[in-house]
């Protein structure tokens, strides 16, 4: 009766959820670092805020359509079950989405909003009265959303890690792995966005984003290694399940595309770009192409990581 129940809808959802979390995380961080009128990181805050709500909303929609009875999704919110990661997760997602939307609103300046409201047909002009200015609340919203974003980021890993019957998942490392991967993909998304915007990254923005992303990628790497090594030194079932990525059907995707192209390659690229800044000598090697490809690889890697864990995990079980 063994079958693959969770497919690409779930993979995408896990990825998109993480992406939003990461974007918000970066944005909020940037916001916190704004003090006494210093606005060097404002664009990061804004872009993160603009990006954050959408992937998670799409992801949640996918999740709903993955249900056997999509029209029963409301039942998820008739219950709160602290022992069920999915129950916690669904509430978390709702909260996070709301906060991130408000947060986004708080980032819109007057003309942005005027533009929006102009689009509203006259009949619905009643909506005009919702034209509140939340910008004063920006920091507070960031403060509320910040922990939420971390929770969402880690939740996607917990969802899998909390299943004791799938040895491939059943370790706390999965949660951390997913968290770091989520945050770095959020970071990468912003790099991507900024690099594509008309005037590219400023030195401060670059420094901030790259420091963060390199840090996260390094952390991610130092979670993947223990995951594999510790697993190999673990009990029979875990060893067997690791076979899926060590000489099993997922080996190439994992080592070449996730660890290699999705993690080490972008890491080296970003380190290389960053190097001068670290040594303090010479200008950073920022090129648009470089930034785009590094960020792109991180995103693809993040997606494939979730693909492998969702599919391989379901295949693994106790002998």
């Amino acid at each position: 009766m063994k079958s693959i129940e969770w497919g690409f809808l779930i993979v995408s959802y896990l990825f998109l959820g993480g992406l939003s979390a990461g974007a918000f995380f970066a944005s909020a961080l940037a916001t916190f670092l704004q003090h006494n009128g210093n606005r060097q990181l404002e664009r990061i805050g804004r872009w993160g805020a603009l990006l954050a709500p959408w992937p998670v909303s799409i992801g949640s929609t996918l999740l709903i359509f993955d249900l056997g009875n999509w029209y029963r999704f409301y039942k998820l919110f008739l219950h709160f079950r602290i022992v069920s990661p999915m129950s916690i997760g669904s509430w978390l997602l709702v909260l996070f989405t709301i906060v991130s939307l408000l947060y986004l609103w708080s980032w819109l300046d007057a003309d942005d909003k005027r533009g929006l409201f102009a689009k509203i047909p006259r009949r619905l002009s009643v909506l005009q009265r919702y034209d509140y200015d939340l910008s004063p609340w920006r920091h507070h919203l960031a403060a509320i959303g910040f922990p939420l974003s971390i929770c969402v980021g880690i939740y996607t890993g917990v969802l899998l890690g909390a299943v004791q019957s799938r040895p491939f998942w059943n370790t706390n490392l999965v949660a951390q792995l997913f968290l770091f991967s989520a945050l770095s993909s959020g970071c990468a998304a912003i790099i991507l966005a900024l690099s594509l915007s008309k005037d590219t990254l400023s030195a401060e923005e670059f420094r901030f984003l790259y420091t963060m992303d390199i840090g996260l990628l390094v952390l991610e790497f130092f979670v993947v290694m223990p995951y594999v090594i510790h697993g190999e030194l673990s009990v029979e079932a875990v060893k067997l399940s690791l076979g899926l990525i060590l000489g099993g059907p997922f080996t190439i995707v994992f080592w070449v595309f996730v660890v290699g192209l999705g993690l080490l390659v972008p890491l080296t690229m970003e380190v290389w770009e960053m190097l001068p800044a670290v040594s303090g000598r010479g200008a950073i090697h920022y090129t648009k192409r470089m930034a785009l490809s590094a960020a792109g690889l991180v995103l693809i890697g993040g997606f494939l990581l979730r693909y492998i864990f969702v599919f391989a995990g379901q295949r693994s079980s106790f002998p």
Partner: protein, 183 residues
């Protein structure tokens, strides 16, 4: 309704199993299980070389774990455990997320596309509430399965477990399964 003191369990003596499939068909009839699925099944294995052969046949179904992972992970509480230990699904609450299927160490659950919910063995709880035994237990020609209350020392299951050696499957999954296989 079953009393809290009760703890229903199955004791299985696989040596007596004839692989006759009576339990499978009885379950299909009792629970109207679609042809493509089965709530209980038989694990068959042949070992050795002619003419020295060994055939093993072992019935299996939901293990009605004392600490069921499926119940824990269910976001809506559709999967639940009764006071008498029977693990069942309230179909009206099931949203069809299949998290329980992924959480079950025994792959005892299946997803019905047609009605969008997950199903599995519920030890024929309707029958049990009427004071009958599950269909698979009742119908078996060689009485491989014994059903009863392991909290009651006089029950046949308790008697068997106190006299015979036994094992449970995948204890390492940590769900403390309640199907006991006699050795």
């Amino acid at each position: 309704m079953a009393k809290a003191s009760k703890r229903h369990a199955l004791v299985i003596d696989s040596r007596k199993c004839l692989n006759c499939k009576a339990c499978v068909v009885a379950c299909r009839a009792e629970n109207n299980v679609p042809l493509e699925f089965s709530r209980n099944w038989l694990n068959v294995e042949l070992r050795g070389e002619y003419p020295r052969l060994l055939a093993i046949c072992e019935p299996e179904q939901c293990h009605h774990c004392a600490d069921p992972a499926c119940v824990r992970v269910c976001p809506t509480g559709a999967s639940f455990q009764r006071a008498d230990g029977i693990v069942a699904i309230n179909a009206t609450e099931c949203v069809g997320c299949r998290y329980c299927m992924i959480a079950c160490p025994y792959n005892a659950r299946f997803f019905r596309q047609d009605i969008g919910v997950v199903e599995k063995c519920d030890m024929c709880r309707k029958r049990v509430d009427r004071g009958e035994v599950p269909a698979c237990v009742e119908t078996c020609p060689s009485k491989v399965r014994v059903f009863g209350d392991i909290n009651n020392p006089d029950s046949q299951v308790s008697q068997l477990l106190s006299r015979r050696q036994y094992r449970v499957k995948k204890p390492e999954a940590g769900t403390s399964p309640q199907i006991y296989y006699l050795l």
